[in-house]
Assembly symmetry: C2
């Protein structure tokens, strides 16, 4: 423990011993100094203090003074306050904004629709109309399918494609994103909510709970944006999302086998082993080949058109035609299969059909909210998880398209938009909506210019709800399953996973951790594993106790890692070392101390055999990349200095950062090492070399 | 999600859009370049690729080539392998050692006693003898007291002062450390073991469990040392140990009130609220003033002598005399109080006495080990915690004295020594022994030269065990309590706590967390809080998303933080920025991206009003202190570059470290930014300024 101050019983003796050691050190230092004659940099008059080899203040060149007399950095409270102010109340900037710009621009800032609305014309609208109709053709079957995945009645999926897109169109900044229900969130909702309420036995309570979760998710999302807590979404790293999405896609695919096989008995669990067991049981018990044939044939149709559109190189018109074909393939499948079933009455031969879909616009759902129920707390918890996952998906997809189009997406504003649309959605029978990967890509490819394509889509869905729901009576469930299945390959990004593996092995660990977690445990565990692995990675790379030796680069006074720059030359007798991490803290300081000592004394042993010049006489510790140091680190530095002094090796420190020099001063380390703190390695070595030549 | 690669449906369209954007970028770049005429550094022929503003490879000065063509850093597997080899099997070095030195020196390495044993003489022995006897006078009453604290029979404390010191004397490297039972470990053992076995109802099973835990602790300690896992002990930071020790000392002190008040009913819990409640109940119910008076008067005697010895300035002999007086005060108190009780038969008036202490040497305790019992797993768990705490105390105290005397303590060797002595101890009726703070200080102050003082102490304890245990029959328990109480102030290091507060506020949080955790929850929770807070601190300082602006220092081509060096000058039109953290990762990359964008465009707005030179035309991102970057960070860098390019701002990167340049290359970022990767900020700016002047 107290490595510097010691306990009562010992105190008075220590000072004696300390003086004795100090005296010895001085004697040794004096011996050393006989080799290093008096220079401007060092005073050689040994005093009774350890600071005898201290560099005199007034003789220092200006630059050294600058290093030693840096202003005090802002304290912790000040930093916290600033951080809070910047993050939560960026009012100062806002007011400035108001002054500088017109009110209208500021309003346009709040409602992006006002900014681009003015320049909107019929030509742009035609493009948006086309994109919106394309979107609707994909959205209607997907919405019904995803509602089934979320264990809700099919109309809830359609409801969710009405209110949220409208609100997003007013509040959102992304131009390409397609709002509505998505596969992963639907799976997440059903997986977590059916643990507390059975969707089959108690569908009303289950639906109410889903809507309550939607309310909470919306509130959380809006709060994240309003309080600028967007970084919470960043906790899911890119790699984690890739792994998580792939795992979720496989789980969703397996769940769809229920529809494809036409079975009724299936598991409620979401780990791969339970689901595979359920599939196995279904295959042996009660599957219906008609469903399977129907589903598979249309799945092949959709996938073939997509494959043709994306892979066969064709120019101009043909390519465009194929794109439209692949885009309307899902709707075509629905229409064709419904017709087939209607004409052949295949539902009487075991083909499962959607049956009744309630027609009419979104009903108000305020009465369904369970805000005083027994599960409210759990609903809030699930709401939080769903909010983060939904935001992660929407922002990832929004950002990637904004980057392609070269505009900037304000994450916090997006979160507010998402939050408001989900809160409003929860009051109008919608479940959690977010930006969909697959539909956003289609929207973009179909040539959307603004978010008006979302409005077009919503209007189309409203018309379908009012007029066409009864036409979907005979739609086979196997077709919905195959439409969901056809959207899944977009969620599995093997290419990106390979890139992650290539660039960063540790990041890949988070990716594969999330993937396996989702697959073998549950969706929540997968998320937890991903975040956990990511943070362990952060800790490990922050505290890895490596050091690197620096050498002078030819033709310049710059010192660089000799491994990275093989042409750099080490200076005999001088060890210039730098950390491979940014923190000198409890977890690594002892290791680092021992490593530097080993380097110093190891070199010395080798030097004993060779020429006398090879003996390490000076260790320069380059602190350029040291961001912070804690009390354990400071104690280790002191111990290192003591040990080196007892070996007769000098110790200098260069380029400490603001926080570090401040702490070194507070802990008296600067005085301990005789103020040998320099700005550059060159400066530090100059003192030594000048002394040698003289 | 896939911010770079996108999903199937969009693919073929993206390439079109991408080309379009690229073409726009090229057009914009060409406009920019009309202001920046053609130089050696940049080729101005716009091509259809985004790499149009790429710096031609062959025209680069040598130094740029060095940056770009660094050799590949060792991969993760290679690093892991090396780490494992270095940590666990440092055989290569060992064999080298064998070759270089004589066999005897190597043996001396294993058994340090052989190294200093040769030079040992009668003069040194006299000093050690004196120190050893002093140690014994303090050790005997403390051992009995600590055994009571651990809820064992008093003789176990004495046993623990026999075998471990002998073994440590042979294997250990510290010269001053005093081995034996210590207060904190005793408290820890009783607090954790009495949860699974009642020491009053089932003393034999309890003792067996304590001995089993000792065996496990020894095995863990030896394993830590043998496999060079010493860093596990480092997880308890300096600050955490200060807080933990202070909290434990207060808990021990409160526990001693039981003895001081002479009550029988007391709580088994170790949180301050339960203990204070128990004290309150005792005071109201069944306390005996005689015990209290006896205890308090001798406590004042011990503390007074200590205070006199440590605080009153006296020279030479007088000071020495007072030191001896303060050192033998505890033994004197025992002898005097025992005599008083024996003569007055005060035990018949309610003074609690030690009664029978089993005499004779340590019995073999192999049969007491519970290796197949129901609690073996829990014993192993407790053994692990106790091992870490015991090692932390021993190594902290060992290091601080080694640092005072100026020699180096090998942590791994110490751990093996501690482990072996505890394993041997568990076979001979000892409980966990370690280095004691208070006794080590006394040993040092009494003038010990080598670890022989421990042997002298052990021999003295053996003699006491054989001959004098019956003399301790009438020793009042209140005296033992007061001796323990008198040792506690040494564990509470207010001075150091203040230092920690002064130097590092976050570190202080770990300190106070451990303190409050021990006080209000339990010893384990305190440890957990300390480790938890320490790691959260590491994470926070690794990912804080700050940037700092750099300026050129007058008279040199060095760029430094303008806040730390107020004399540094920013260059108009150029923003040189550096991170305040060492990782550009998922948790901070988005924040950092937005901050740099804000800085760049914010500056631009101000510049619009002022002179045209004020417009930010170049952002130089100094990566000097960036240790690592993950895939999310790389994606953010790409987005940052795209956004800056669309604003017409150039982007250059300087001084990437080994891992970073490697990843930048792998992710094609080097090509993306037109190979604008330089060694120094000066190099990067030169390209821009040269172009301007021309």
């Amino acid at each position: 423990m107290p490595s510097t101050s010691l306990n009562e019983r010992g105190n008075f003796q220590f000072s004696e011993a300390h003086e004795k050691t100090a005296a010895e050190a001085v004697a040794r230092a004096a011996e050393d100094l006989s080799q290093f004659p008096q220079t401007l940099q060092t005073t050689t008059v040994p005093s009774a203090q350890e600071t005898s080899i201290m560099v005199a203040d007034d003789k220092l060149p200006e630059r050294f003074q600058w290093v030693l007399n840096a202003p005090e950095p802002p304290g912790l409270w000040c930093k916290l306050q600033n951080g809070m102010t910047e993050t939560i109340f960026p009012l100062k900037n806002k007011f400035q904004h108001l002054r500088e710009h017109q009110m209208s621009k500021s309003l346009g800032n709040l409602f992006p629709i006002l900014s681009w609305g003015k320049a909107y014309n019929i030509k742009v609208f035609r493009k948006d109309l086309l994109a919106g109709l394309t979107l609707a053709s994909l959205c209607i079957p997907q919405s019904i399918g995803y509602a089934t995945l979320a264990k809700l009645d099919p109309q809830y999926g359609l409801y969710t494609s009405v209110v949220p897109p409208f609100l997003y169109a007013i509040l959102g900044t992304s131009r390409e994103i397609a709002i509505g229900p998505v596969a992963v969130v639907s799976l997440l909702l059903s997986a977590m909510i059916q643990k507390i309420e059975d969707p089959v036995a108690n569908p009303v309570a289950y639906t109410g709970l889903v809507i309550t979760v939607t309310l909470f998710a919306g509130i959380f999302q809006a709060a994240f944006g309003a309080f600028r807590l967007g970084f919470l979404v960043d906790l899911l790293s890119h790699a984690a999302i890739v792994g998580f999405m792939a795992g979720a896609a496989i789980m969703i695919g397996l769940q769809q086998l229920k529809g494809l096989l036409g079975t009724t008995k299936f598991t409620n669990k979401t780990d791969i082993i339970s689901v595979l067991a359920a599939v196995w049981r279904s295959v042996h018990d009660s599957w219906n080949p008609l469903n399977f044939i129907l589903g598979c044939s249309f799945l092949s149709f959709i996938l073939t058109t997509r494959f043709l559109a994306s892979n066969i190189l064709q120019t101009g018109r043909k390519k465009k035609k194929l794109f439209w074909l692949s885009t309307i393939a899902p709707l075509t499948s629905v229409v064709l299969s419904t017709l087939i079933v209607f004409l052949t009455r295949a539902d009487k031969h075991g083909v499962k059909i959607v049956k009744h879909i309630k027609s009419g616009l979104n009903p108000i759902s305020v009465h369904q909210l369970q805000l005083n129920g027994p599960h409210t707390a759990e609903a809030a918890k699930i709401g939080l998880i769903v909010a983060v996952v939904a935001l992660a998906e929407a922002i990832a997809v929004g950002r990637s398209f904004a980057s392609v189009r070269g505009y900037h997406l304000d994450g916090n504003k997006e979160m507010v938009a998402m939050g408001v649309m989900n809160v409003a959605g929860s009051l109008t029978s919608c479940y959690v909506a977010t930006g969909s990967f697959s539909r956003t890509a289609v929207n973009f490819s179909a040539g959307c210019e603004t978010v008006v394509s979302n409005i077009v889509m919503a209007v189309t869905v409203i018309i379908s709800l009012e007029l066409f729901t009864r036409l979907l009576f005979y739609t086979p469930i196997a077709i919905l399953a195959s439409i969901i299945l056809s959207a899944l390959p977009g969620l599995i990004d093997l290419n990106e996973a390979y890139n992650i593996w290539k660039v960063d092995k540790l990041d890949f660990l988070a990716c594969i951790g999330a993937f396996l977690g989702v697959l073998f445990a549950s969706v929540e565990i997968g998320l937890l594993v991903a975040v956990g692995v990511s943070f362990v990675t952060v800790i490990l790379s922050s505290i890895q106790p490596g050091t690197e030796t620096l050498g002078r680069i030819p033709g310049a006074d710059i010192f660089v890692d000799v491994n990275q720059y093989p042409m750099a030359v080490e200076i005999p007798g001088i060890l210039v070392t730098r950390l491979k991490c940014a923190l000198l803290c409890f977890a690594n300081s002892n290791c680092i101390k021992e490593r530097i000592l080993q380097l110093a004394t190891g070199k010395q042993e080798v030097g004993d055999k060779g020429n006398a010049n090879g003996k390490t006489q000076l260790i320069v510790f380059d602190m350029s990349n040291l961001m912070n140091i804690d009390t354990t680190g400071l104690a280790s530095l002191k111990e290192l200095h003591n040990s080196l002094a007892s070996e007769g090796i000098e110790f200098a420190v260069t380029n400490p950062r603001w926080q570090v020099i401040h702490k070194l001063r507070l802990a008296n380390f600067v005085d301990n090492i005789g103020r040998r703190v320099f700005l550059t390695v060159g400066d530090a070595i100059d003192a030594c070399i000048t002394a040698k030549i003289a």
